[in-house]
């Protein structure tokens, strides 16, 4: 078997654990799994030192520390969290429970990896919470993490794991429904690689690139996303979907304001920075509540736009703190602001429009609390996922790091009874043929052109305000775009990345549109112009989608409730907190 494989592949690797994606989550998982004595291989599309959404820096760690945190286990177990008007936020509450339960352990683990968890005075800097009555509780940490990725990269190198940078996963390998590794391609050399693994872990980031970036860019410059584009093509979602795993909530994507100038950099930290929220204004200076999509539309009709975010009410001290946050998270923002003559003390940030963005937090790969990828109600053997791409609260640095560390702790036990993986050679051949095809296409189309067309379909036919006719027309047009995949050419292996990303985006756009066709209601920021009311029968339910025996399955599901023992824990904690509150 191996002889045949080496004839097809330029490189064959056998390993216990294959980690796909070396972002925050992937690096944490790899370092910990090595510490636990496993043979680990990491493949990363870019380079672990600066890859992923944390590549340019991070300014806060939203760790949701329980007990001392604003988010208590009671909140985790609270029905409102999942049956809210936005649809189902957490398809499996047990995942959230496990993350919350171990935050102080994660704090220690990250420190052990060399990540600075403390502020300048050597103590953790708890972000002040801007609401009265919660001051006693701790939310997240302000951190100086410009270099979190080089630090984690060093930890991974020190661990002795096998690292393959500039190596992009093509597809998962399956045998009898189990996942037994993956195929990959080196995007600089075109080398085709097969990795045979007992456990395959996915932390490839979010899906953003079905919609335009938050900072609109002119002409061919299309990548000014808030999150790193390399980790926003939804590669992991597509890999899981094609291997028979479920994606959930693919109709409920996030939405955001597009910010006119590229000064979104520390956007996340604006309100968190110092516990002082920003203010929102109409163009003529009227202070307003941050609008939702319906209200924003009204403001447009009333001639009140553009609207702005402002920090001009900040104290001098808060402005200084904001500057530190900018430096921690995205140094380039200083340069951009300075060159434009933009000063947040006197200028306000223009919000361009409210528009759909990425698929994360609520949407993505369906997992259980052991990070196993689910197919219907059953886990797929050998396949795990966490981080930004998994649905149900494993996103953000805290979610990604915690997911990776927890799973790596479980792996030795999981792998103990696992058989040696068997590879189906015909799958390997097929993957190779797919991945290297554009190298042979002469005078074809550039991947970026096809990607723009896919995005155009989502913007125009799905967008914020949906209807049956538009969705069906979008689906039809998407179908005809598929032929273009074979016309893409790669002048060098570099372009294989864009080509494979287009392949993934095409699949995911289809999943997205089909889910939107099924949800015939208006709820939260999900708008169907032809179904303007909430459909009560959809309360507390969500869609999952997968491929089974070549057929697309879409199912309506209910969230997996908190396990009784977890619920008991939450009740005990609530009682303890009440006693502490009464005493203070």
């Amino acid at each position: 078997m191996t002889d045949d494989l080496t004839e097809i592949a330029d490189k064959v690797i056998e390993t216990d654990v294959l980690m796909i994606g070396g972002g925050v989550g992937g690096c944490c998982a790899v370092a910990k799994a090595k510490e636990n004595g496993l043979d680990v291989t990491l493949i990363e599309k870019a380079h672990i030192d600066r890859s992923g959404s944390a590549g340019q820096g991070i300014d806060h760690y939203e760790g949701f520390f329980t007990r001392d945190g604003t988010t208590t286990l009671e909140n985790v177990s609270n029905e409102d969290w999942r049956l809210g008007r936005y649809g189902v936020r957490y398809p499996n509450l047990n995942v959230k429970y496990r993350l919350y339960k171990c935050q102080f352990w994660v704090f220690e683990q990250l420190e052990k990896l060399g990540v600075p968890m403390r502020w300048d005075d050597g103590e953790p800097y708890w972000i002040p919470f801007p609401f009265v009555g919660w001051e006693r509780r701790k939310t997240g940490l302000r951190v100086h993490w410009t270099n979190i990725k080089p630090i984690l990269g060093r930890a991974v190198r020190r661990s002795g794991a096998r690292i393959l940078n500039r190596t992009m996963a093509i597809d998962l390998l399956t045998t009898d429904g189990k996942v037994v590794g993956a195929t990959a391609v080196n995007i600089r050399t075109g080398e085709f690689i097969v990795i045979k693994a007992k456990a395959t872990l996915i932390a490839t980031g979010k899906l953003m690139r079905l919609y335009n970036p938050e900072t609109p860019m002119p002409w061919k410059y299309k990548f000014r996303y808030h999150f790193c584009p390399a980790s926003s093509a939804g590669d992991g979602y597509a890999l899981v979907y094609r291997a028979g795993g479920d994606l959930v909530n693919m109709d409920i994507n996030a939405w955001t304001f597009r910010i006119r100038d590229d000064l979104t950099c520390s956007y996340g930290s604006f309100s968190l920075n110092d516990g002082v929220p920003m203010k929102t204004y109409t163009w003529d200076g009227e202070e307003i509540i941050n609008p939702n999509a319906t209200r924003y539309k009204q403001l447009e009709d009333e001639g009140k736009t553009p609207i702005y975010f402002g920090f001009d009410h900040f104290s001098e001290d808060s402005h200084k703190r904001l500057e530190v946050a900018f430096a921690d998270e995205r140094m380039l923002s200083f340069k951009v602001a300075e060159e434009r003559g933009f000063n947040p003390k006197t200028h306000r940030y223009e919000l361009q429009d409210l528009s759909p963005t990425g698929f994360y937090r609520v949407s993505g790969i369906y997992i259980d609390e052991n990070f196993r990828v689910l197919r219907g109600n059953e886990p797929i053997e050998g396949l795990y996922a966490f981080g930004d791409g998994s649905a149900g609260g494993t996103s953000g640095v805290a979610g990604a790091a915690t997911g990776g560390l927890l799973l790596a702790e479980d792996l030795p036990e999981i792998l103990k009874d696992m058989d040696e993986p068997e590879i189906d050679i015909s799958q390997v051949e097929e993957h190779k043929q797919i991945a290297l095809a554009p190298l042979a296409v002469e005078e074809g189309v550039e991947p970026l052109e096809l990607e723009s067309a896919i995005r155009d379909i989502c913007e125009r036919y799905v967008g914020m305000f949906k209807s049956e006719g538009k969705l069906r027309e979008g689906l039809r047009r998407l179908g005809s775009l598929k032929d273009w995949l074979g016309k893409l050419s790669a002048e060098s292996p570099h372009h294989i990345t864009g080509y494979l990303e287009c392949r993934n985006l095409l699949d995911l756009a289809e999943v997205h549109i089909k889910a939107c066709i099924e949800r015939k209601e208006t709820r939260g920021n999900y708008f169907r112009s032809d179904y303007p009311e909430i459909d009560k029968d959809m309360d507390g339910k969500f869609f999952s989608q997968r491929i089974e025996n070549g057929k697309e399955i879409i199912e309506l599901r209910e969230p997996i409730p908190l396990k009784p023992e977890y619920l008991k824990d939450a009740e005990e904690e609530k009682a303890e907190l009440q006693t502490a509150d009464a005493a203070s």
Binding site: G52, G55, T146
Partner: protein, 66 residues
Amino acid sequence: MYIKIDMATCDGCKICYNVCPQDVFTWNEETKKPKVSYEEECWFCGICWMDCPERGINITYPVSIS
């Protein structure tokens, strides 16, 4: 050109070429210096600019987002 390398300042350390998350740079074996080859894929993260030990990279923005 929105990503500009000052070839006189660059000492060929390869850091930008190694770390750029979008693989914007290629390596010129003759000059032993980086080359900006896929600029339209840049996401303006600023990583090359901040990690270049020689401060040899300058980033400006495309015209219509000023």
